[in-house]
């Protein structure tokens, strides 16, 4: 059945207190009748990812008992409703159709979480003209959190015109405002609900962009950056054990790596003694989760791996992934117990204490020239190394270059707010292209090695067929790696263009005095 979309404009109001009383209302010289109809209660759950990917696009996924739909809060338009078969979690288990199509690229591997669970009591009214013809519908919604029996969070009204009666509806809208109703946009309405249930849709950004002051002394600026990373670490840590999706761990690890990279690239800015200790500590924390992250990556790659193999090998491949899933279960337990250990808690507490104590006043330089020098030095090193690789095609050198690029990427991101945004976006974009090529080469290499090691672990003889599949996979990955290596020169050349060099020089070269 084809479902017509609500193209009609809908007026949304926040009501101050009382519900409209049924009966006659007089607007200008016209009189309308408000006729209440039977109300109904529904439980609506609003879903979004932990990092509010839907909200950032003015979207919300809404489910009630039997159906699910995507609300576009900017366009005030809902997707067609789809039957709800299971609690929405990942994009790939949403019902097929428009909702899945739109959310797949947006969510990627992130899970949906219930962000607001609401009990909504809706009282519909018909607005009748003097012929007793309906000219508009008014739905008053009293909204409570489902989880607690409290006072309503808000009472609001939706005024829906009937086609061809827009003028009458506008008059009724005017009357509502006179009664103390405030017009709100659907997005304002949703934001209000989220705030009321204690959620802040802007609060989590995996890569914080600190607005740094160029004159801030380097040790102070560095601590600011590290504190932002620590927040990411602390925010994600408690979710890792819940195993909701792979990205809590991923963001946690990236923030650790960015912190360690900042410490190693600005060795002389903070006192050497505690820094050495924290570098070692943070490295250790990251290592506790290495196995788990590796397994996450392989399991996420499952569809890709399957696509590489012919049909007759699919079943043998499945055995491999069953084995990996078992391994991951263990790795999760190990990682979680380490992350919840007293040692870890102590490390985190000490690290926070260090970052939140004021640096004793010591002679120090402002952050801007220091940042420029570090970026420029790193950039020149990358160009030099890259040019060497263009001639040699040496893969171990490519891996070394990948590390350098990562360090430069972190520097550019840490200090992005000190430089013109468009130029930074351009530079970071070009660097990303190079990084993604180097990353592919490295990932494929690591995967090959891992699969070969895994082959040795598989219990024989029942996994002979699986071994064959692993062999086919390794051959395929090996071929892909050769292709990725061939693309290096293009990826590097687009990064090392003369214009780009001039731009790096202009932004980051500090004339030595």
């Amino acid at each position: 059945m084809r479902i017509l979309r609500g193209k009609m404009k809908q007026w949304l109001y926040r009501l101050s207190d009382n519900l409209p009383a049924p009966g006659q209302i007089e607007v200008a010289s016209e009189s309308f009748t408000l006729l209440p109809e039977t109300g109904q209660q529904s439980h609506d759950i609003y879903y979004d990812s932990f990092d509010w990917r839907l909200y950032q696009q003015s979207l919300a996924l809404v489910s009630n008992k039997r159906t699910i739909y995507l609300a576009d809060l900017a366009a005030a338009e809902d997707s067609p409703k789809a039957p709800l078969r299971q609690r929405p979690t990942f994009a790939w288990n949403l019902p097929e159709g428009e909702i899945r199509e739109r959310l797949t690229p947006l969510l990627d591997v992130r899970a949906l979480l219930p962000q607001a669970e609401l009990t909504i009591y809706r009282t519909p009214y018909r607005v009748l003209n003097e012929d007793e013809k309906t000219v508009a519908r008014l739905v008053v919604e009293t909204i409570r959190p489902s989880t607690a029996d409290t006072l309503p969070l808000t009472t609001c009204a939706r005024l829906q015109p009937l086609r061809g009666y827009e003028a009458e509806t506008e008059r009724v809208a005017g009357w509502l405002v006179m009664q103390g109703a405030t017009a709100v946009t659907p997005l304002e309405w949703y934001k209000g609900i989220l705030t009321a249930v204690g959620k802040d849709p802007g609060e989590y950004i995996a890569k914080p962009r600190l607005a740094l002051d160029p004159a801030t002394l380097a040790p102070i600026a560095l601590k600011q950056l590290l504190r932002a990373e620590l927040e990411i670490i602390q925010t994600n840590l408690p979710y890792i054990s819940q195993d909701i999706d792979t990205e809590f761990l991923h963001d946690f690890r990236v923030a650790l790596r960015r912190s360690r990279s900042a410490l190693s690239q600005f060795k002389d800015v903070l006192p050497a003694e505690p820094v050495a200790r924290f570098r070692a500590d943070l490295k250790m924390v990251a290592q506790w989760t290495n196995d788990l992250r590796d397994l996450d990556v392989y399991l996420l790659a499952e569809p890709g791996y399957r696509a590489m193999l012919p049909d007759f090998m699919q079943a043998d491949m499945a055995l491999l992934f069953t084995y990996l899933r078992q391994k991951r279960k263990k790795a999760l337990r190990t990682a979680v117990s380490a992350l919840h250990s007293a040692t870890c808690q102590q490390i985190m507490a000490d690290w926070a204490a260090f970052l939140y104590t004021t640096t004793p006043a010591a002679p120090a330089n402002p952050i801007l020239p220091l940042a420029q020098r570090r970026i420029y030095k790193r950039y020149r090193r990358i160009i030099k190394q890259g040019q060497k690789i263009l001639l040699s095609g040496n893969e171990p050198e490519m891996h070394a270059l990948r590390i350098e690029c990562k360090k430069l990427r972190y520097l550019l991101e840490f200090f992005a707010t000190l430089f013109p945004p468009e130029e930074m976006t351009l530079l970071i974009g070009q660097l990303k292209t190079l990084q993604s090529n180097l990353g592919d080469i490295n990932d494929l290499h690591v995967q090959e090695a891992y699969l070969l090691r895994l082959a040795a672990e598989l219990p024989l003889p029942q996994s002979r067929a699986t071994l064959l599949a692993v062999g086919a996979l390794v051959a395929h990955l090996h071929q892909q790696r050769a292709q990725a290596r061939d693309k290096f020169s293009d990826a590097f050349t687009q990064f090392a263009t003369p214009e780009n060099r001039r731009l790096f020089k202009k932004l980051f070269k500090v004339e030595s005095t």
Binding site: M1, R2, K133, L162, R163, G164
Partner: protein
């Protein structure tokens, strides 16, 4: 695929408007976005939905006619059901006679853009056998014809069929049902039996003469809305089900 269904007869007073109003309501209740076009200048179906005729002035050229029609459509009191009031649709049709190139396609061209929006479009037609009738035959995907079981009416029906075929239309698109059947009258019973024998394609569901149908004018509502369990409602429901099965199979939106 959208189905344009014309409730047509070249005779007046055979139950066209009540059929159009009730079937459009039932289609909308089934969830199909439905439009009822009131082509009768007397505006009876607009009246049943409490919609005031209001003249829209600018429907003078083809381009603005589309806009004027889109702006003249009124939401009924019922979900999925809109009405194109009598005056505007009739005024647009008047222009058919000034469109010298393709005088019989005027109505089709008016309805085509509406097919995007509606799954079923009902035409409540005035009694006519002239150029307007030709427009209706061209525009409609299906004709639904109420036939009163009297000798004169059946003779006139045969003439109408002949006219329809002569003009090159596909008689397979015609669906007919017996309307205003009074089972107490011997004549009705006899003619009905004869008609079913003569025209085996006629739908099996008759609509009887019932006082509730007349009460629609008092309530100004479709029958199923004010008398959901009445025999009259049941008759229209049965007719809608049979018509859908026989005429709309494969055309379901």
């Amino acid at each position: 695929m959208t189905a344009v269904i014309a409730i047509y007869s070249h005779k007046g007073g055979v139950g066209k408007t009540t059929t159009a109003v009730n079937l459009a309501y039932l289609a909308a209740q089934d969830g199909y976005p439905t439009l009822l076009c009131d082509l009768d200048p007397q505006g009876a179906s607009s009246f049943y939905f409490r919609i005031k005729p209001k003249v829209v002035k600018e429907a003078r050229s083809l381009g603005t006619a589309h806009d004027a029609i889109a702006r003249s459509i009124k939401g009924s009191d019922y979900e999925h059901l809109d009405v194109l009031p009598a005056d505007i649709s009739y005024r647009s049709l008047e222009l058919a006679f000034s469109d010298k190139k393709r005088p019989t396609k005027r109505l089709s061209r008016i309805l085509d853009p509406l097919r995007k929006e509606y799954a079923t479009i009902f035409l409540d037609c005035p009694p006519t056998l002239n150029l307007l009738a030709e427009n209706i035959f061209t525009a409609a995907d299906r004709l639904l014809i109420p036939l009163i079981p009297t000798t004169l009416a059946v003779n006139a029906y045969a003439q109408m069929l002949a006219f329809f075929k002569k003009r090159g239309h596909d008689a397979n698109n015609i669906y007919t049902f017996l309307s205003m059947v009074d089972a107490r009258r011997k004549l009705h019973r006899e003619v009905a039996t004869a008609v079913y024998q003569q025209y085996p394609h006629i739908l099996h569901t008759p609509i009887p003469t019932l006082s509730q149908i007349e009460q629609m004018g008092l309530h100004r509502q479709p029958l199923p809305a004010f008398a959901p369990r009445s025999p009259a409602t049941q008759a229209y429901q049965a007719l809608w089900v049979e018509f859908q099965e026989k005429a709309l199979r494969g055309r379901k939106p």
